[in-house]
């Protein structure tokens, strides 16, 4: 049966099911195939902290949202056009987020009395009028999977577990996605379990052919390739990009890479990724706790490595004292904080931007560090290199902020030619060179002397140091001098970073100023309101401490500055404090990325309805 093909500009799909249903896997496979189809895309995995929450419950629902398009896109989409709901709980949890006339593909096999009760449904939503206005496509996904796998001698449970591949196959057909990459992935993943391998492939193909043959769908959809800049692309998540950035920094600085880390959501994937690349000489040390991880990182920096540690908010809290030690000993290292919902254990799998003040100020004593923040998943690559460069050049700890959304989310990455990445110069004091542990170069950096170099034996530590000699020193004037020296060194980085750029008019009524992972949502909001005739400009900070040197100048060119943040106004506080200007804040702390429509509404509220 030949079906119509409708051409679409962009689509947002959300896959939702039990946390054991393989929704993250389904989503990431769909993402990969969509990338290969040449669309621009952005993803939002959203899963519970429980690994296998009781099946069918509302809190056990795991989702994966994907926005793909034939043009450049910035966000994973505010509201899905399509929901694939594997059970009643998935339907209930996600319904409120959907577009008004969204398509809902439901797995009717899971809509039995038990699951309806677990989802707190009094009556079956497929049978009453609660889904009015939506286009509901009822498919007995589980049952059809079982039928397709009838002939295979594996257990009923194993057959049932293949239903996500059936759903994936159906969606591949519906959105005209290539199926080969997933078939290859199944071969690679399940090659050692030939029956499971066959079952998953069969389920995938059965779903695909079901789409083709069923009369439930009268047409299928096609999204043209996106017109992105020339070059070779691959899909990359923020955590992968962070890991790649450090490997690149290691190659470009010719320093061995050391990672000290303790597993923590949502940062662990950086540890996983770096552990795989021993052939780059990468040494990953999974320490006994967060403190050991950062302390070992300091030791490795002292011994002459490019030393990094990765964590999330609660972990950074534990590392705080040691970061102060790195400030005092002036050793280069990068601390990555993939921010998550806080305080305390908070929302481990959700995103937030509430660790900015912790990063900039959260230490005892005057302990300045450099703080950077990545804007998109692929940007994590560049920021990891920039963080390494600054750490080495200024002999300082650098905190790199990403967040759960950036870390787990993914987008196409324009792979840079290796030669285009600049070398990172490193100087170790050589035997026979004049050496004073706390002398200063033109950047106010102290020299880096590697243990093992004859004649440079010296002692450093957490006690206050005498200027130049580095001996322990309690002199009041020396302390005052050194406090200022450490601060001035960080301030000096300002001369070495790009200016803050403004998108749109350089002067005007409103500047929307953002930082970190809200870049996509702000960009989309500003683009939309600009299209409707508003004059709004946008700037996005990557260097959080110190700020770019033209920041004050930029801000003062606008009557109003709006700062959207997923916290209670932490950048707003820093801006007000440093530049004595008033700003408007827009804060939503829901564990989720901003919806661009919310920012849009706030912009319109500030500027007034268009006359």
């Amino acid at each position: 049966m030949e079906k119509d093909v409708q051409i679409l500009e962009d689509v947002t799909i959300r896959f939702a099911g039990d946390s054991g249903d393989g929704m993250q896997l389904t989503g990431s496979q769909f993402t990969n195939s969509t990338a290969l189809a040449g669309n621009d895309l952005s993803t939002l995995p959203d899963y519970p902290a429980e690994i296998r929450a009781p099946a069918g419950t509302l809190y056990g629902v795991s989702g994966f949202q994907l926005h793909f398009s034939n043009s450049d896109i910035q966000t994973p989409g505010d509201s899905p056009d399509v929901l694939v709901a594997m059970n009643p709980a998935a339907l209930k949890v996600n319904l409120k987020d959907l577009k008004k006339n969204a398509t809902i593909i439901v797995n009717t096999s899971a809509f039995d009395a038990k699951n309806l009760k677990l989802a707190h449904y009094d009556s079956n939503p497929l049978e009453d009028d609660s889904l009015e206005g939506y286009e509901v496509v009822q498919v007995p996904l589980t049952q059809m999977t079982m039928t397709a796998l009838e002939s295979l001698s594996i257990s009923i449970k194993e057959k049932e577990r293949c239903k996500n591949f059936f759903a994936l196959g159906l969606m591949y057909w519906l959105y005209s996605r290539p199926i080969e990459a997933t078939l290859e992935w199944i071969d690679e993943k399940f090659g050692k379990l030939p029956l499971i391998q066959e079952a998953n492939k069969k389920a995938l193909m059965a779903g695909y052919y079901f789409g083709e043959n069923t009369e439930l769908f009268t047409s299928r959809f096609h999204i043209e390739r996106a017109k992105l800049p020339e070059g070779t692309y691959r899909n990359i998540s923020g955590n992968e990009a962070t890991a790649y950035g450090f490997i690149a920094a290691s190659v470009k600085s010719k320093l061995p890479l050391f990672l000290g880390s303790y597993p923590i959501t949502p940062a662990s994937d950086i540890l996983h990724e770096l552990s795989r690349h021993r052939n780059f000489g990468v040494k990953t040390f999974q320490a006994e706790d967060e403190i050991a991880a950062v302390a070992a990182t300091i030791g490795a920096a002292y011994a002459g490595s490019l030393a990094i540690t990765t964590t999330s908010g609660p972990g950074l809290a534990l590392k705080t004292e040691a970061v102060g030690l790195a400030v005092m000993t002036e050793l280069p290292m990068v601390i990555v904080n993939v921010q998550r919902g806080g305080p305390s254990t908070g929302l481990p799998t959700k995103t937030e931007q509430a660790d900015l003040l912790q990063a900039v100020h959260g230490r005892n004593g005057e302990a300045p560090v450099c703080v950077l923040a990545a804007a998109t998943p692929a940007d994590c690559f560049d920021v990891a290199i920039e963080a390494s460069r600054i750490a080495i050049k200024y002999m300082t700890p650098v905190i790199m902020l990403t967040d759960g959304y950036l870390g787990n989310g993914s987008e196409p990455w324009l792979v840079p030619p290796v030669d285009s990445i600049p070398e990172i110069p490193v100087h170790f004091v050589a035997e026979g060179e004049e050496f004073h542990p706390y002398s200063r170069d033109e950047n106010l950096s102290r020299p880096w002397a590697k243990p093992g170099t004859p004649g440079l034996e010296h002692r450093i530590g957490g006690l206050e140091k005498a200027h130049i000699t580095g001996h322990v020193n309690y002199d009041p004037d020396n302390h005052h001098f050194m406090i200022n020296m450490r601060q001035n060194k960080i301030n000096k980085i300002q001369q070495d970073i790009p200016d803050l750029e403004v998108r749109g008019d350089q002067k005007g009524d409103l500047l929307v100023l953002g930082w970190g992972g809200t870049f996509g949502a702000i960009t989309e909001a500003v683009t939309k309101v600009t299209k409707t005739g508003y004059n709004v400009s946008q700037a996005h900070l990557k260097h959080m401490c110190p700020f770019p040197k033209n920041t004050a100048e930029v801000l003062k060119n606008f009557k109003k500055v709006l700062i959207p943040e997923i916290n209670l106004g932490q950048l707003a506080k820093l801006i007000k404090m440093e530049f004595l200007i008033d700003v408007e804040s827009f804060n939503r702390v829901r564990g989720l990325p901003f919806k661009s429509s919310d920012i849009e509404a706030r912009i319109i509220e500030i500027l007034g309805e268009q006359k």
Binding site: N32, A35, G38, L228, E230, G231, T232, Y233, R234, N235, Y244, I247, A248, V251, P256, F258, H277, R278, N279, F280, G281, K283, F285, A287, E288, D289, I291, A292, A293, A295, A296, T297, I298, G299, A300, Y302, A303, G304, S305, A307, E321, A322, G324, L325, V415, V418, P451, G452, P454, G455, L456, E457, H458, R459, I460, G461, G462, L463, H471, V472
Partner: protein, 345 residues
């Protein structure tokens, strides 16, 4: 090789070469002075180039140690010396990494790092200065203070049971565990030499007198008149004998150790427990380590056990080497292009 180089190579370093010019700031009479002196005396004889020594410490009286050694040194933060040292050693396994720590630093705030360092068999030498008291914070009880001890923070007596450091180390399968004391310089030097030659975590508990806050804590073990009856020297292949006339022996009755007299003819030297440092089974070393808590038993000095096991830093290095053999040296371009890519023209 030119004559000049060979002259430099054969130039024998002395204790003075390992002494930094900084003023030593321990209290006069502190046992730490002896430990420092023995280390400075021992260092030139270890066959390790001076620039390869790295001394790491945490916080406490003992942790000032690195400042006084003219080697590379890192004075860290409280409890974290072993974690810092682990980073140094993994990053550069060529270095000889030593840690000076105290009973609070190592076993209280740093307890976690201590057990995990031993567990990994990180090639680090640990000198635990155990004075059974907090010195730098001025006299609170420590995790090795005896139960009932009256201190500033335990005016009615401590109700904590103490740690037994060698027992802890043996419990986590440390590959070299020894005990010595500040007032026996020769023995202490010998233990330092043994630790240096061991590949893997080497742990020496050093009883150290704090003459300000816990004076005389170990006098039973160090003073001439009492020492012989209270100390048993562990030596490999030799029977465990003690007493002024070597007239007392330890025998092992199943799993139960007993102190017996050799004077009355009931037992002879041949009945005594013969110490085996290299026994892979930790049971006997464990029994020995608990003598300190057993009424009527002498305190053992010497090496409880020494076994061979691969080290964490060595295994890291081996994994990298063997992975490079299989995969080839890392290539950035290949890394970037791994997985599925597509090209827009």
């Amino acid at each position: 090789m030119s004559d000049k180089t060979s002259v430099i190579e054969t130039k024998k370093l002395t204790a003075k070469d390992f002494s930094s010019q900084q003023d030593v700031r321990w209290c006069p009479g502190c046992g730490d002075y002896s430990i420092l002196a023995q280390m400075q005396r021992t260092s030139p004889d270890l066959g390790i180039p001076k620039e390869k020594f790295v001394w790491v410490s945490g916080i406490g009286c003992s942790s000032r140690f690195p400042y006084y050694m003219d080697t590379y040194g890192f004075h860290g933060i409280h409890g974290r010396a072993l974690a810092i040292a682990s980073g140094v050693k993994i990053a550069n396994p060529d270095l000889s990494v030593w840690v000076a720590t105290g009973d609070g630093d190592c076993l209280s705030i740093g307890g976690n790092h201590f057990i995990h360092t031993c567990r990994r068999n990180m090639d680090i030498k640990i000198l635990l200065f155990n004075n059974r008291i907090y010195g730098l914070t001025k006299g609170q009880y420590s995790p090795t203070s005896e139960k009932g001890k009256k201190t500033k923070s335990t005016p009615f007596g401590s109700i904590d049971y103490p740690f037994n450091p060698p027992a802890v180390a043996i419990g986590v399968d440390a590959t070299f565990v020894a005990r010595s004391v500040d007032r026996d310089p020769k023995h202490l030097q010998a233990m330092m030499q043994r630790a240096a030659k061991h590949t893997g975590t080497a742990f020496i508990e050093i009883f150290q007198n704090c003459n300000i806050f816990n004076d005389g804590a170990f006098f039973d073990l160090t003073e001439k008149d009492r020492k012989a009856d209270n100390v048993v020297m562990m030596e490999h292949g030799k029977p465990l004998l003690f007493g002024k006339e070597n007239d007392k022996a330890i025998i092992l009755d199943g799993l139960t150790p007993k102190v017996v007299s050799l004077a009355d003819g009931k037992y002879s030297v041949n009945d005594a427990w013969v110490h085996d440092e290299f026994d892979r089974n930790p049971a006997r070393a464990h029994i020995l380590s608990h003598f300190t808590e057993m009424e009527g038993f002498p305190v053992p000095f010497g090496v409880f056990r020494q076994i061979e096991k691969s080290t964490y830093d060595g295994d890291t290095h081996d994994q990298i080497e063997s992975f490079i053999k299989v995969k080839g040296q890392g290539d950035l371009n290949k890394l970037f292009m791994s997985g599925n890519t597509w090209t827009i023209e």
